[in-house]
């Protein structure tokens, strides 16, 4: 059904990088011109057939795209309602959706003549994806990672090192993803001549939220085809976890113009949104400015950014991509949350019923799908973005179970 009041989603962000009141470019002056150059280069390359062919070739032969759309029959049966489908981004090279974006940005870096890439990482998936593509393209790679995350994601730290990257533990602030982002921005402002900053999520100053979305949108574009083939129509609902929100926007964006498809972004409810110990700025934060864009942030009464809590390092972030902030305000996407406990329950269910170990981030989306399935009922179809695999999380889970793996 056509909805005349809905915006033309393809027109966002506007020329100044705004999604309604969100987004924009809130950085120190030194970065303004480099950002303008990046915007200009991207505007040129995104329609360049040679660039797109290179990207497509990598998606197919390096990442292993398209990723399968898998019908989770046993979860569907157990939950007694809508059919659950899993978009298997966990099967990508490096084990998560992150590579969709790093390949795109690294190719941009190459075209801009940069010899060094830097990245921030929370769970380590974006760091691994950046280190991977740096190895392949022969670029130097430095990854900033909060000290707390270095400790809880040690397998990924080692993978990055194996790939030749330098991992810099960040000890400032809350020692998590937001501090890694600060540190990466500091590196970039210092080394802006030879360095390309590969931002891992749909946050940061314009044009990053746009280009990270565009590179991840391969997921939604594949879904348009796959769901029509497998279901015979578009699905009734999409569910994806939201930290910064790159996997969610990648899946949602190509389907935004289809109002019959409901969308759910699942934030990290931590110990419960009511406890204050969570990472759910869309559910419990308010608009502010962080890391170069205006968006919903978690801040105290004085506007200081506050610490977040989530069992999953990849969702442990006090901001969120500005496009999500806008999609929340206009009501196109529903933002909900799943707690640590709900996430763990979903993690075990997916692992034992489907033989798929999901990343703890993705398990938040599965947890919400479990609630949604009986509400929608049989005959309806839910696609969950299984954005990453859970191998990186086994130490965290073992520790929770009181088991030592070392």
């Amino acid at each position: 059904m056509a909805d005349d009041t809905s915006p033309d989603y393809g027109n966002f962000p506007d020329a100044r990088g705004h999604f309604g009141p969100y987004g924009g470019r809130f950085v120190a002056e030194t970065l303004m011109e480099p950002l303008r150059q990046l915007e200009e280069a991207y505007a040129r390359l995104k329609n360049d057939p040679a660039f797109l062919a290179e990207l497509d070739r990598d998606y197919t032969h390096y990442v292993g795209r398209p990723s399968p759309l898998y019908e989770a029959e046993r979860l569907t049966k157990a939950w007694g309602g809508a059919t659950i489908w899993l978009k298997r981004e966990d099967l990508n090279h490096t084990g998560a959706h992150k590579i969709n974006n790093t390949i795109g940005q690294a190719l941009l870096a190459k075209h801009l003549g940069k010899t060094r890439i830097i990245a921030e990482t929370g769970a380590g998936q974006h760091g691994v994806a950046s280190a991977t593509i740096a190895a392949r393209l022969g670029l130097k790679c430095v990854v900033y990672m909060g000290m707390d995350d270095v400790q809880r994601q040690s397998p990924n730290v080692y993978r990055m090192k194996l790939l030749g990257a330098t991992v810099v533990p960040v000890t400032s602030g809350t020692r998590t993803l937001k501090d890694a982002l600060n540190e990466a921005l500091r590196d970039w402002v210092t080394n802006v001549d030879d360095t390309f900053y590969v931002i891992g999520t749909v946050a940061g100053p314009h044009p990053y939220p746009m280009l990270v979305r565009d590179f991840n949108s391969i997921v939604g574009r594949e879904l348009l085809t796959q769901t029509r083939e497998r279901i015979g129509r578009l699905p009734d609902a999409l569910v994806a976890c939201v930290g910064g929100g790159s996997n969610a926007i990648g899946m949602f964006h190509p389907l935004l113009p289809h109002p019959e498809v409901a969308m759910y972004g699942v934030e990290a409810g931590g110990k419960g949104v009511a406890t204050g110990e969570h990472a759910a700025p869309l559910s419990a934060g308010k608009p502010g400015v962080l890391h170069g864009n205006r968006t919903y942030v978690m801040a105290d009464d004085d506007g200081q950014i506050i610490g977040t809590h989530s069992i999953s390092a990849g969702l442990d972030y006090p901001g969120v991509g500005p496009e999500h902030a806008w999609l929340k305000d206009i009501g196109r996407v529903n933002y909900v949350d799943a707690t640590d406990d709900e996430c763990m329950e979903a993690f075990y269910e997916c692992t034992r019923r489907e033989g798929i170990i999901p990343a703890l981030e993705s398990a938040h989306a599965i947890a919400y799908a479990k609630k949604l399935a009986p509400k929608l009922g049989a005959g309806k179809h839910i696609v969950v973005n299984l954005s990453g695999r859970g191998d990186k999380d086994i130490f965290t889970i073992a520790q929770r179970e009181g088991i030592s793996l070392t």
Binding site: R16, G24, R25, F26, V27, A28, E29, T30, L31, M32, E33, P34, S172, G173, K178, D179, L181, N182, L185, R186, V189, T190, N191, V192, D193, P287, G288, V289, L290, H291, G292, V297, A299, D301, D302, G303, Q304, I305, I306
Partner: protein
């Protein structure tokens, strides 16, 4: 209205402006007013007072840690404004410029913040992560309150950007001497001179230079080409060193600044004696 405090500092014939930066509330809000008076005693013409922020992404480790100390000591934006009001009771002449990040200001509301800052005796505001593109939303509130809005110019700023910034800015322009964060090492006086000439061809606003000025020699060298010299991390690292014994800080900062003042005021060497 008579000329603003900032305009008087940069008026023709005045000495080169020495502009120390300290983070408000570091090591604790109880000490900041005394430090500000000490800076004036050491020869400060303008004081840049940092408003601590949890995520100071344009600052180096020295000022990030200062922010963490200040916040841990309970410093709030309201407390910073009280500090300025307190300072004003003893000093009606030295301009105070608040320097900080946008989120705490937006959180309070730019209009409210600007009105309260003016009432406290603030002269100007520099918001590090507010470039001119996003300024139209905020600038009118500061103009209405009668505060100067000070903007950064960077080595990467193009002539078009410099012109646009100059059109929006008042008080002075803050030229960031290098690509990097505050407290970075090497400042190249020649490349600063080249860029300042480029800026002066576009605007008559006074130009202060900061980032990377650690000692009297550099201050003097930069003073020869700029209208003002900003010294930040070099002072803040003293605060860091002596955070446990804050009673020694006023004399320390005053003396450190005095050395820069002396170097800045020394007669300009003849061209033949340039080193």
């Amino acid at each position: 209205m008579s000329a603003s405090r900032l305009a008087r500092v940069f008026a023709a014939g005045q000495r080169k402006a020495l502009i120390p930066f300290i983070t408000g509330g570091d090591p604790s809000p109880l000490h900041t007013v005394a430090l500000m008076h000490a800076l004036v005693g050491g020869g400060a013409d303008v004081i840049e007072l940092g408003m601590p922020f949890s995520d100071p992404m344009a600052d180096g480790p020295t000022i990030q840690l200062a922010c963490e100390r200040a916040l841990a000591a309970g410093t709030t934006i309201s407390r910073i404004l009280e500090i300025v009001a307190d300072f004003r009771r003893g000093n009606g002449l030295t301009p105070v410029v608040l320097m900080g990040y946008l989120n705490p200001i937006e959180h309070r509301g730019a209009e409210t913040f600007a009105t309260q800052a003016k009432a406290a005796g603030v002269d100007g505001v520099l918001i590090v992560d507010l470039a001119i593109e996003e300024a139209p939303e905020f600038a009118p509130a500061f103009k209405r309150a009668g505060l100067d809005l000070i903007f950064l110019i960077a080595p990467t700023s193009t002539p078009q950007r410099i012109a646009a910034i100059a059109a929006e800015a008042s008080g002075y322009l803050y030229y960031v001497s290098l690509k990097g964060v505050t407290g970075s090492a090497a400042l190249d006086v020649d490349s600063v001179a080249t860029k300042l000439a480029e800026i002066r061809a576009i605007t008559t606003l006074p130009i202060a230079v900061g980032f990377g000025i650690r000692d009297a020699t550099t201050a003097a060298a930069v003073g020869r080409i700029a209208d003002g010299v900003v010294v930040g991390s070099a002072l803040v690292s003293e605060v860091e060193k002596h955070a446990g014994t804050p009673e020694v800080l006023p004399a320390l900062l005053r003396d450190k600044l005095k050395a820069m003042r002396t170097a800045l005021d020394a007669p300009i060497p003849s061209p033949g004696s340039q080193s």
